[in-house]
Symmetry: C2
Subunit: 276 residues, 2 copies
């Protein structure tokens, strides 16, 4: 998906919500577990049907599928095939390896499966990222600053500038706002401001709203730009809003709550920019 | 596999060779492509049969399987099920994510599949590594310093010490020589010496011998310790030694060449240590 199309969807739906399909077989409602040959897909299908008019993106955390072996990959394939092409489809897989291996990962997610974007770990540098940038209309979403406790271990390493800042500025040389986004943890306000200064035009993927404790108002105020420029992800808060037969309706209500907030922040952002 | 068992295999076979199964469907001999329902597994099976008495480990680069979608995962599952339990089985998958997601990857490689070890990208810190260390007899092999061109981009970042050094010393606090190894690129002699000083007891996984240009004599002189302490990987140099019907015999010859060299270096290392 091209940037223009993503931006267009954001303003049309007045939403920059990304629904994270971190679907855990042990957590889905009991009535689904026995009733379907592929309960994970049955669950995802219901969540997608219930949320697709409220979000612009879906993010599939591949670990939750890989952990189930071959059957998990079947659920993953069915899920990605079911997500409408109007939605930005993210494989949250944190891949990254030497060039010839990253090319294989690109083939996995951009050819064997129809993802629009893949999250990428930056440790191995340019040749580990570049293969993902070689596909027209496809995106690398590189880890900048994450929201987990361990992010303190290495991402702030460095004297004059922290590693996360170096990663972002260096990586920007390899791609453009048309094929490169950054992952920015939602719990770091000062850093989100800093990253928006470093990369004013790039989309930022912000996980961690809801269960991980991020504040949507702050994130939006600091991160929105003229083209939206944000994808804010919620996973557990939506998926597991309810554990009964009404799980999809409750998921929709939670997603609708985020969308309604986002509509306000998008309007405020546009108004603020006009008045400057 | 426990460390004692790995060391025992190394001295018994006089080999610390790891054969990398980066099997590319486009590169395997033509006579296999049509003759089998799963030519990648047929190829791997022949390579394993031809090399298993000469090596102590197999490393499966998952990207080459993921790129083929569900069929690739089937080849991967068949291959890991075929590797003898006497061999140290490495998933070279460069995973790493927030704690609850890394736990899912651990389940994928240590429960759904019987790998002994997984390569792990360190960028997200402690909670991204720790879940792999929680399985008795299983290992995390954390990226220290890689041999690709892009390793210069971030792994040497830092003023007083380079990032790779910080990664190694910090990660050592989370595990022990019984469950933690490091990936060290074979093309960096000075750094290999430095890393051996930082982590005298840990096993080092050194990829890049053969096609990637590492020098086995130097690596062995700098890296061997009392327990062996090295796994040196060769992939393309062995897998694609010959493209005809004799591919497995030629692969065996190349592996035998490495093993014969390794027997010499192991003896020299033991003698050198006695004379000190």
């Amino acid at each position: 998906m091209q940037r223009q199309e993503l931006t267009s969807q954001i303003f049309k739906k007045r939403s920059y919500l990304c629904v994270g399909l971190d679907t855990d077989l042990r957590k889905i409602p009991h009535h689904l577990s026995g009733a379907s040959a592929d309960p994970v897909f049955a669950f995802n299908k219901a969540i997608i049907d219930a949320t697709k008019d409220l979000c612009v993106a879906y993010k599939i955390n591949t670990a939750f599928y890989e952990s189930r072996g071959l059957r998990g990959w079947e659920s993953l394939q069915r899920t990605i095939d079911y997500i409408p092409e109007t939605h930005f489809r993210i494989a949250d897989a944190k891949r990254g390896d030497i060039g010839n291996t990253s090319s294989q990962y690109a083939a996995a997610f951009f050819e064997a499966m129809p993802f629009d974007a893949l999250t990428v770990a930056p440790y191995m540098g340019k040749d580990s990222v570049s293969p993902f940038l070689a596909y027209p209309g496809k995106w690398a979403i590189v880890l900048g600053l994450t929201s987990n406790e361990g992010s303190r271990d290495f991402q702030f390493f460095g004297a004059e500038e922290p590693l996360y800042s170096r990663v972002i500025t260096r990586t920007m040389e390899w791609g453009s706002p048309d094929n490169l986004m950054f992952v920015v943890g939602a719990t770091r306000d000062e850093q989100l401001l800093h990253i928006r200064e470093l990369a004013p035009k790039h989309f930022l993927l912000v996980p961690g709203v809801g269960a991980q404790g991020g504040d949507l108002a702050k994130i939006s105020r600091l991160g929105l730009n003229e083209e939206g420029g944000l994808l804010v992800n919620a996973s557990r808060a939506i998926l597991y809003a309810d554990n009964g037969v009404a799980f999809a309706e409750r998921a929709r209500e939670v997603a609708a709550g985020y969308q309604a907030e986002m509509a306000v922040y998008l309007r405020e952002s546009a108004t603020g920019k006009q008045s400057r």
